[in-house]
Symmetry: C2
Subunit: 298 residues, 2 copies
């Protein structure tokens, strides 16, 4: 997805929020915005939002001199999500369609990121997700939710590449991965995370802390953008990305980075901003399970 | 009110929206944002938001080469509001406290501006306002609504300076002004508007089109900012501003420009953004009737 002009005010908002989270005082926050304003005319709108996001967070890291401004938030998100891991498993175990529930929860877990960026009360939001006892979350929104294709593709695929999104959310991914493995132990699943700290995106440490290593191989994609931007990725990752029978892409950042991908991808994310919602044709807050056919059929 | 860092992303949003309204294509919209980004580091945050807003709309006008990009919107707002003028009068006539209802409607009329900036359906919003038959709007929010002081000050004042805000909303101001004059014909009311086109702020023509001239004298403050920024105002206006027994200031822009005023001012506005809402201590969308005592007592 290319960057829309409407993304631009949001870039300034994100830079400011990231500066605040990095503990910058007002003067430093202003310096961040000044630097962004100075660099802004150089940005190409044909780049995807995560590519520009990468530049923005580089500014924040450089000016605040913090290598990982979101370290505490990531650790907290992991802790919060791990705390409800058993409840999530329980919810899946008691569903009429376990895989569907696991997929819905994995997408709903994306709320953690939303919380970080919009000061939502993550505890309350997670409690709400868990409170939806006997109801399918997807039934609440009339958006693209191609579960049939997802289920079919899963059945046919031996090697699955799962692109992680944010810390904390990783626990929700674990629940889905474990459900996939429960159905068929022989599935070979690889979970890819970002190479270096960028916003609250999960790194290898987060994936291990959240217990993903018990059912999937964890690798870094090589991307240091808040999305899997292919030209930034490692060769070894690209090889797997191209060869895997199925790619499951989590989060809006990965959708923005890969919506034009040549290979088929299943996008699982929550539409978090009006620009993406309009692009997809849904409402902000809707949960999406969208099959992108790429250039060849899966 | 000084400009907060959180206002900055919104400045870019406003510039983009204004560019769109001025009919600029994507390339021109990007040029507007580039110019704003270039000028941005020069802006002082000790200036009030309307002072910076003035610079932003100067950029939009210069780049789009449109002297009055909001001309059509202003004309439409006037038409829409005039269409319901009789209903507004009727609503006031059938209220247990006519002045209170007129004041509340005057503030609620500010929704027109909100509609312009946020693509709300103004017709629907106005219909909602009118539908609140026997209910005081203010009772819905627990915010500063100092009607007692307002009523008392009105009683004691002979010369009243009323600072207008947006086109269309002017019709709602007219209803309040007519109510004040109905209570006491001897009141000498002056209605001040902006000097030149800036966003959808009312000009002398709008005030006349909306029929304000039937019960008040219409003047220009001299300000070309989207708020009554005193250093930009005419001497004759400043003299009246300082001498008037009472100043009624409509709209968020005038609040932002005059919240630090030395003289007492009654601010009537709808809190339209999170920054102002936090500054005032209310929620976005709340209607405010706030008495600012200034340095001397009224």
């Amino acid at each position: 997805m290319r960057t829309y002009l409407d993304c631009i005010p949001c870039f300034f908002k994100q830079a400011l929020e990231a500066g605040k989270i990095a503990g910058a005082n007002k003067v430093t926050q202003k310096r961040i915005l000044d630097k962004l304003a100075k660099d802004f005319p150089k940005f190409s709108l044909s780049a995807s939002p995560p590519e520009i996001g990468r530049d923005i967070y580089a500014i924040v890291k450089k000016i605040t001199q913090k290598k990982d401004p979101f370290a505490q938030i990531k650790a907290k998100s992991n802790r919060l999500a791990l705390k409800i891991y058993k409840k999530l498993k329980n919810k899946v175990a008691h569903s009429s369609d376990r895989l569907l529930m696991a997929a819905e929860l994995a997408i709903a877990g994306n709320i953690i990121d939303y919380g970080v960026k919009n000061s939502l009360n993550v505890d309350t939001e997670l409690a709400k997700i868990l409170a939806q006892e006997n109801r399918s979350i997807k039934q609440e929104s009339k958006v693209t939710f191609d579960y049939t294709s997802f289920k079919r593709a899963l059945k046919r695929s031996s090697t699955i590449l799962y692109l992680g999104d944010n810390a904390g959310e990783t626990v929700f991914d674990r629940v889905l991965i474990e459900e996939i493995k429960r159905i068929d132990k022989s599935k070979n699943i690889t979970y890819a995370v970002k190479e270096v700290p960028v916003i609250n995106d999960a790194l290898i440490k987060d994936a291990i802390d959240c217990g993903i290593d018990r059912s999937a191989k964890i690798i870094s994609s090589g991307s240091d953008a808040p999305g899997t931007v292919l030209p930034l990725c490692k060769k070894s990752f690209l090889s797997l990305f191209n060869k895997a029978d199925m790619v499951i892409s989590k989060g809006q950042g990965n959708f923005e980075a890969l919506s034009g991908s040549k290979r088929p991808v299943f996008f699982l994310f929550m539409a978090k901003c009006p620009v993406v919602a309009q692009h997809v044709g849904c409402k902000v807050g809707d949960i999406i399970l969208s099959y992108h056919p790429g250039k060849r059929r899966i």
